[in-house]
Each structure stands twice: as C-alpha cells, then as structure tokens.
C-alpha cells in the first residue's frame, strides 16, 4: 500500500512538469545545449582552455545587449563579441609583455563591464537577470530556432574535424609537421567555443556558462582513458545534469541555471571521489581496467 503510494508519487514527480508546455521545451532545449557544450568540453579540458571559455562567455555580454537593442538575433551580436574578445586577447598578448592569463582576465572583465553599463543605459526591455543567470523556462520560438541551428553547426564542425582537433590539442607541433593547418584549427575551436557559449548562456546564463563548457569534460576525464568515451560520458553527464537540474528547480522553486550547474558539480565530485582509476578512493578491483 505504502509502496504503491510512493511509486505514484515518483511518477508524478517525473510526469507532472511534463504537462507544462514551457517545461517540455525547457527540458528539450537545455538537453540539446548541454549535449553541445558537453561535446565541446572534452576538447576544452584537454586543451586547457577553461579560462578562455570563461573569457569568451563573459565577453559576449555587450553583444547580446546591442543585438537586443537593434532587434538583431542575439546570437549574432554575441558571436561577434565572443570572437572579437579572442582576437583582442591574441593581439594584446602579442604586442605587450603582459602574461596571457592576465590579458585574458583584463579583456573579458572589460567587455563584461561594457555590457553591464550598456544595459543600464539602453532602457529597453532587456532582462539583465535572464542574461546573467539564464532563463531556460522562457525561451522564445526564435531563440529555439537559433539554438537548434547553432547547435547543429557546432556538432557538425566538431565531428568533421574531430581527429584534427584531437591532434591539435594533443601535439600541435606534429600537426604542423605533417602539413595540417594549425592556425585554422585554433580558430575553428575558438569559433565553436564562442558558438557554444552563445547557446549555453540561454540555459545557465553568462556567469555560469563556463561550467557547461568544462565540468562535463573534467568529470569524463576522471572516468576514462579514451577520447571517444570521454566525449560520450561528457555529453551524457551534461544531459543528465540539465534534466535533473530543471526538475529540481521546478519542484523546489530554485534558480534553474544554478541548479543545473550544481548537479554537474555534484557529478564531478562523485567522480572525483569514486572514479575507478583516478578517484580519491580507487575502486580498481571492482571495475575492469578501463
């Protein structure tokens, strides 16, 4: 009897939110975005581009504001500023003796500040809160179209150039010696990073989007020694996090973006503690080698 009650409870825990149109859309879109960011995260964590991810995602802020003000697709503005920040970082680094991480920090905070100032100046219907912290529950139809298009583009680029990008992250010098265009791959990865940041910021917002771009990859890195498996694990853990995060936020009335990232962080912690080979408590004997 009790058991029966419990099971209906659990079923309604899962199904109730699905009766809302906005929840179904949020779950679908967030999963898509999470999958794309998770896919990319396996490259970024291996390349050591966490800070770069943070920089790009913050730098898109003024682009989003300007695009909204001009009535352009927000992804366009975001992309231009994302790529622009990267170009500027490269330029300043080359022309001055300031160290790279300093340049990165300097440029992205500058862009971010510009974005905040712009929001306060352009009194339009821009919702600062949803830009900063995401609003997966309020995605509009045009946002859906943009997100789907960009997601497919990123997945396609990452798939076509998959092996070259792995080589680029692993040993760019060898890539160069065998005649592969390393500069192209560098900018390709940066472009994908900007695009993923653009779609990611809708679900978790500018402040937390970097988590979508590195945490799944870092989790997967603890669990496997194969790049292919790493990508699969990263994508799956990212999707689980966003679905679970959205449910949590629905039932307990939590900030959605924060919930998603928090679940990701918990999954990472779990891997950090219990990963068979690289966790703190190694359960090597329980699992096979890899």
């Amino acid at each position: 009897m009790n058991l029966c009650f419990l099971s209906t409870n659990i079923t309604s825990f899962v199904t109730d939110p699905l009766s809302h149109e906005f929840m179904r859309k949020a779950l679908l879109m967030s999963s898509l975005v999470a999958a794309v960011c998770g896919f990319l995260s396996s490259y970024l964590t291996l390349k050591g581009w966490a800070l770069m991810g943070d920089a790009v995602s913050h730098s898109v802020m003024p682009g989003v504001v300007v695009a909204y003000a001009l009535g352009l697709p927000f992804s366009l503005g975001a992309f231009i500023f994302g790529v622009g920040s990267v170009a500027l970082i490269g330029f300043v680094k080359q022309k001055s003796r300031v160290k790279e991480d300093t340049v990165i920090g300097l440029v992205f905070t500058g862009f971010f500040a510009l974005g905040i100032v712009l929001v306060s100046k352009i009194k339009s219907n821009i919702d600062l809160h949803s830009i900063l912290f995401g609003s997966p529950l309020g995605i509009s139809l045009s946002d859906v179209k943009q997100t789907v298009f960009i997601s497919l583009l990123v997945v396609m680029l990452l798939s076509v150039f998959r092996k070259d990008l792995i080589l680029y992250c692993f040993d760019p010098r060898h890539a160069k010696t065998v005649g592969i265009n390393v500069l192209f791959l560098h900018y390709l990865l940066l472009t994908c990073l900007s695009l993923a940041a653009v779609v990611g910021l809708q679900t978790v917002g500018i402040v937390l989007v970097v988590a979508m771009l590195i945490t799944p990859g870092a989790t997967a890195y603890l669990l496997t020694d194969r790049f292919d498996n790493m990508t699969i694990i990263a994508v799956i853990s990212a999707i689980i996090s966003s679905v679970f995060g959205i449910y949590l936020s629905f039932w307990f009335d939590l900030e959605t973006g924060g919930s998603i990232v928090l679940v990701q962080t918990f999954i990472f912690l779990f891997a950090f503690l219990f990963a068979p080979r690289y966790g703190i408590f190694k359960f090597k004997k329980l699992f096979s080698n890899y």
């Binding site: 010098r173 890539a175 065998v178 890195y221």
Partner: protein, 254 residues
C-alpha cells in the same frame, strides 16, 4: 646546376635566428645534411636544441635566415610529409586519453582525407611501425599507462608510420633503459641504410661517437660543425659546455 646542387641537400639551414619575445635563443645557425647522414645535436640545457627543432619543423618562425628542405620551402616539405618529428618527452601531455595505436595513426594524418579515415595502407603502415618498435602487445593501451621508454618508442613509431625521409628527434635516448636504447640505435642504423636523414639531440657522448656521422655543437649558435671524428674533440666539447668538461664522455676511448 645550381638547382641540382640544392637538391642534393635534404636539410639546409642558413644563418637562422630564433627569438622568443625578443629574447634570442638561437642565432646564425647553419646546417647542411644529405641523405643517409646521421647528425648529433649537442649542447647544454637551454643551448637551443629544441629551438633548432622548432625552427626546422616550422613551429616557431625564424627571424632571420633561410630553411630549405629538399631544396623546397618548409611548407611544401610539410605537405610532402618530408619531415617527421619525435618530441622531447617534456613537450607532450602524457595523460592525454589516446592509445598507442591512435598516436601512431597520427603519423598518417597528413596523407589521409579530411576526415582522417584510415585506408588499408594506413593500417598496414601503423602495424609495421608498431612492430618495428616492438610495441604490438601494448598497441591498445592508453599512453598514460606506458613507461617513459615505451612512450618514446610510441612516438618513434609515429615517425616511422609517417614514412618521412627526414627524422628529427629531440633527445630520443633520455630516460630509456639499455634494451630500448639498443633497439633505438639499431633502428637508426636501419634508417641510415634506408637513406633517411637523421638529426638527433642527445646528452650522451657515447652515442655521438657510436653512430653519428656528423656532429653539430651548439650554444645559442654553432660552436663547431663537421665530421664527428674531426669535430668531436675534448676542446670543442669543453667550449660548448661553457668551460666544463663532461667527464662521462671520455671514459674508454674507442
């Protein structure tokens, strides 16, 4: 005639200079190598050995001078798969999640289609290469689980799989045991007989005497260059190492 003369050199570096953000690491360096020659690159830590390799692989831009590979520009040489490079172990992330097979296959990428999907011939080349360095049993192991010497052999196999005519090896003997050392030096002799050109850096003077036809002593610039028997003298070595004579090198005279 002039052109033909050019062609007879596999590697030709003329007065090359490299600086990192204005700090000079290598200047006025010259090198000419032909087919079937093995040249040892000797110098102390920070002398610019890796920098020399960086210049020859095009990984850093030279600020002055000229590099010709088979009489052509570096770019063409890269596209022709003329140069294979075996990195110093410090230069790579050995925790990267790829297997021995994956790494050796990377040697074939330059001659594959854009998706880098291996053909039968690529698979065969990879198998042969792994076989030559005696790593067949370990071919599916992630490189993070290999010993330093096994990792060295993996990268050597990648160079073999590439089937380049020029091999550049940055400290191929660092941290390997006697068995691997023997395997690698035997491979070098085979490469030489196959007509490959080899430039390798090493801190081990015995190896230089053993199988290097030529030796290039550097300390930010060329201290001495020529036939090993003529150039590899205690005086030259002492001046290369800034007045210090590395005594290990002059144990039993051969």
């Amino acid at each position: 005639m002039d052109k033909l003369n050019y062609k007879s050199y596999r590697i030709e570096a003329e007065n090359i200079c490299v600086d990192y953000h204005g700090k000079v690491a290598l200047y006025d360096a010259n090198l000419r190598l032909k087919a079937g020659q093995i040249c040892g690159l000797v110098g102390m830590n920070g002398a610019g050995k890796t920098t020399f390799f960086n210049a020859l692989t095009g990984f850093v831009n030279i600020s002055k001078g000229k590099i010709r590979i088979n009489g052509e520009s570096l770019k063409i040489a890269q596209q022709d798969q003329a140069i294979a490079y075996v990195p110093q172990s410090e230069g790579i992330d050995c925790q990267f999640p790829v297997s021995v097979w994956d790494v050796v296959m990377m040697g074939r990428y330059g001659s594959m289609n854009i998706l880098r999907s291996p053909r039968e011939s690529d698979i065969q080349a990879v198998k042969d290469a792994i076989d030559r360095v005696d790593l067949m049993e370990l071919s599916s192991i992630p490189i993070g689980n290999l010993s330093g010497g096994q990792r060295k052999r993996t990268f050597l196999a990648r160079a073999i799989a590439q089937r380049a005519s020029i091999l550049l090896l940055d400290e191929p003997f660092a941290g390997v045991d006697i068995r691997t050392e023997k395997l690698i030096s035997e491979l070098f002799i085979q490469f030489k007989n196959e007509g490959k050109t080899i430039l390798l850096s090493t801190h081990d003077m015995i190896h230089v005497r053993e199988f290097c036809d030529l030796v290039l002593l550097i300390n930010k610039t060329v201290v001495a260059y020529g036939e090993t028997s003529e150039v590899f003298t205690p005086e030259n070595i002492t001046s290369t190492f800034g007045g210090m004579s590395p005594d290990v090198s002059f144990g039993p005279e051969s």
